[in-house]
Amino acid sequence: MKRRDFLKRTTFASGMFFVPQFLKAFEQLPVKTFSNKKVVIIQLKGGNDGLNTVVPFNNDIYYQERNNIAINKNDVFKISDEVGLHKSLQPLQDLYNKGFVSIINNVGYPNPNLSHFRSTDIWQTASDSNEYLQNGWVGRYLDYTKGNPYAAIEVDESLSLMMKGKTQNGLAITDPKMFYNPMRAPFFNNVVTNYNDAHLSEHNLGYLYNTMIDAKSSAKHIFEKSNTKSTTAAYPKNIFGKQLNTISQFINSGLETQVYYAGLSGFDTHANQAGTQERLLKVYAESMEVFINDLQKNNSFDDVLILTFSEFGRRVKQNESKGTDHGTANNVFVMGKNLKKQGLYNDLPNLGDLDKNGNLKYEIDFREVYATILDKWLQVDDVAILNKSFSKLNFV
């Protein structure tokens, strides 16, 4: 039997006998959007060296501790008498001058964990450093708002912990058409509509079916909606540029997604840092410039807030391999149109006051950034989502 016949026949044989109750319920669920605001989260994966990104070019300690990797005063574009940004970030200069960028320094958490994976988990779950959560803060946002899976989209081939909630997960999509096409096969209807169990994700089998159903229910909607809009902007021809292009396509088409997540890897610069970081920051800045201009052109930048973080910064003192080891507090970039505080949000780290391991001390808990975004931007109960109360900042 040919494949086509096989698919036809199996569909025909089973039909739509068992439309499970929860599936009906799911499809009738109203889209509960609490606000039309959107957040784009970008992770610089591997622990970007914040000190060589936002450079204290008049600080003697900086040059002493990094005698052959410090960024030369002439190699930055200056944003104050003391602070310059890495020259690779030049494409951001125009956005910076327009007041679209806010740089929050010394962001971290108590008892920092210097492991990439643990620290990424901490940033993604918003947990304490000695607390292990199985769900991410965006996932819990989905739980809280009872959002459709496509209320949060990670532009990647697999889904990060950040996007996984207790009852809801976000979606991982690199391309809406590719996401949709395979699920149009009759066999999927068959499998999905025959599922008959109320226990959903309580056991692994339920989880498998549930993931399947979520994917199918969302794929069609996303494809049809985003199909109406295609971009004309010239994004850099690299993976990161492609990710941002996909996000702009979603945003500009009016998709109800509220949180997007993308990442740029390669920042784990233990040896020969300079070239790698220069290359990666360039990829980042060039893509961001096109992205924001694209949103502006489509009148959608007003509703978008972009957060860029890295799981940790690097040690102040460089190592012998012209690189840096895992560190702690780091800067975070926030970009948006109507920022309350533009430019440098707060002072650069005090390099004369390090912890006993030679690391920066944090000043702002990263969860204060999240709490601010949840409360002031997305207008939801940040305490319910973060499981704790954090003070709010004034960038939005």
């Binding site: 081939e157 697999s158 997960n169 590719m178 395979p182 993931t211 979520d214 492609k242 233990h270």
Partner: protein, 457 residues
């Protein structure tokens, strides 16, 4: 031994079992079956690819940039060839348990190398030690060229220690998080200073880069070297616990049963003998408890190789072998980072579930599959003009349906269900299967393998 218990055993220490083998073993005792598994894994069959292109290459050649780049390019290709060879090996293993353990350790002592000599050496080192002594194993890992480069231990010198290896040794390889201080990391990093290897990958110790001063580590003081640090770490029972828990999660159940793990720790802590530990697990009564059968989500490799146990297939193009692994989220020899692949439910998201359910048709019924180019770090900065971001492909496969026919000729479609699926089937799906039993055996088995239930073992 009960058939379903043999199936369970072979799902966990291998990639399933054919009805013929199952029939042969079902007359034997548990002890016999387990003993046979270990006996057949006694041998170590190394895996290699042809590296004769390196003959006559001198150290001088490597210093010349253009030639070095050329050699690196060939080397990366060879690593892919080796990755495919490993996949072939897993599909046709003679030492089943050893190969499964090798796969397990590759996601424990996680490492990546684009140098074919180092990658090959590392992989065979895992295979050799897979059922050996954990102490010895860890020390060997610390001296492998691939690992020395991967976690920067090569750059770890007394003037300025590089902590990368020291940290992961404790966090990921032996103790787990929060079992040590930053100070412990610093002292242990100092102890590993001076480790390096020659161009062929052979370890040697460079005394002039080693920190000869005393180090204080976990309350002990001395002029320690790397091996001493590993000995001191393994004195902690936590190490035996950490490894036992990992083995339990992988082979038994994602959810830890404290009581069972405690028993394992007692066995393992005595002499860190991996074979003894595995024997204990596979002979225990609880390994065969209902709650452990059919509850584990297969890894992509377990999934791909499991299909091969039922209908043997060969993917004709090497890059398509790698493509499928990428779409499912696990490329052999190319882990996401030093923590390795997150397992269990982490294998499954909206993309991978769809790919998995389609894959039996793609492999065995010539269905088409679409995918995007996401590339790795290397391709991240290259110009994409020549490459398409979206592609469709027919995976060129030759499927050995004769072998399936031969193995399953006595089985009706109804009997086939429980040969293929070991988990409890969803009631709605069961009704669907009931209705579809008039399908040909080929179509029916493809359908069975396309169910969410088949993702579990």
């Amino acid at each position: 031994m009960k058939s379903e218990h043999i199936q369970h055993l072979y799902n966990r220490v291998g990639f399933g079992i054919t009805p013929k083998e199952l029939a042969r073993l079902s007359k034997k005792s548990k002890k016999y079956v387990v003993n046979e598994l270990f006996a057949s894994s006694k041998k170590v069959t190394s895996l290699s690819v042809d590296t004769s292109y390196l003959k006559g290459i001198s150290f001088k050649d490597l210093k010349e940039p253009k030639q070095r780049r050329e050699l690196q390019k060939i080397s990366r290709k060879k690593v892919q060839e080796f990755s495919t060879a490993w996949f072939q090996r897993l599909n046709n293993p003679s030492e089943i348990l050893r190969e499964k353990m090798t796969l397990f350790w590759a996601n424990h002592f996680v490492c990546e190398s684009k140098n074919i000599l180092y990658a090959e050496s590392y992989n065979n080192m895992l295979r050799r030690n897979a059922l050996g002594n954990f102490n010895n194993f860890t020390k060997t890992v610390s001296k492998e060229a691939a690992m020395l480069a991967y976690l920067n231990n090569k750059q770890n010198k007394k003037e300025s220690p590089n902590e990368n290896f020291a940290r992961e040794l404790m966090e990921l390889f032996t103790l787990g998080q929060d079992q040590y201080t930053e100070q412990d990391i610093k002292e242990s990093a100092r102890s590993f200073t001076g480790y390096t290897n020659n161009v062929k990958g052979k370890f040697f110790f460079r005394e002039k880069y080693h920190d000869e001063n005393n180090k204080t580590f976990f309350g002990k003081t001395g002029n320690f070297q790397g091996d001493d640090i590993i000995d001191i770490i393994l004195e902690k029972k936590q190490c035996a616990r950490f490894i036992s828990e990992k083995i339990y999660r992988y082979f038994v159940n994602e959810n830890i049963n404290e009581k069972h793990v405690n028993e394992m720790v007692e066995v393992f802590y005595k002499d860190y003998n991996i074979e003894k530990l595995m024997r204990f697990v596979l002979l225990s009564k609880w390994f065969y408890a209902d709650e452990n059968i059919g509850t584990k989500i297969k890894s992509p490799i377990e999934f791909l190789v499991g299909i091969n146990t039922i209908v043997p297939y060969t993917i004709e193009k090497q890059n398509q072998v790698l493509l499928l692994q990428r779409l499912l989220g696990q490329i052999l020899l190319s882990p996401p980072n030093v923590a390795g692949w997150k397992t269990g439910r982490n294998w499954i998201d909206s993309n991978t579930i769809v790919t998995r359910l389609r894959l039996p048709s793609v492999l065995l019924n010539n269905a088409e599959i679409a995918y995007s180019e996401i590339g790795d770090e290397e391709t991240m900065i290259t110009n994409f003009k020549k490459r398409k971001l979206r592609r469709k492909a027919f995976i060129k496969v030759s499927a050995d349906w004769n072998s399936f026919e031969e193995n399953y000729k006595k089985k009706s479609n109804k009997e086939l269900v429980h040969q293929i699926i070991t988990t409890k089937i969803n009631s709605g799906t069961e009704v669907m299967l009931e209705r579809n039993q008039q399908l040909s055996k080929h179509d029916f088995v493809v359908q069975l393998m396309s169910l969410p239930e088949y993702q579990l073992c």
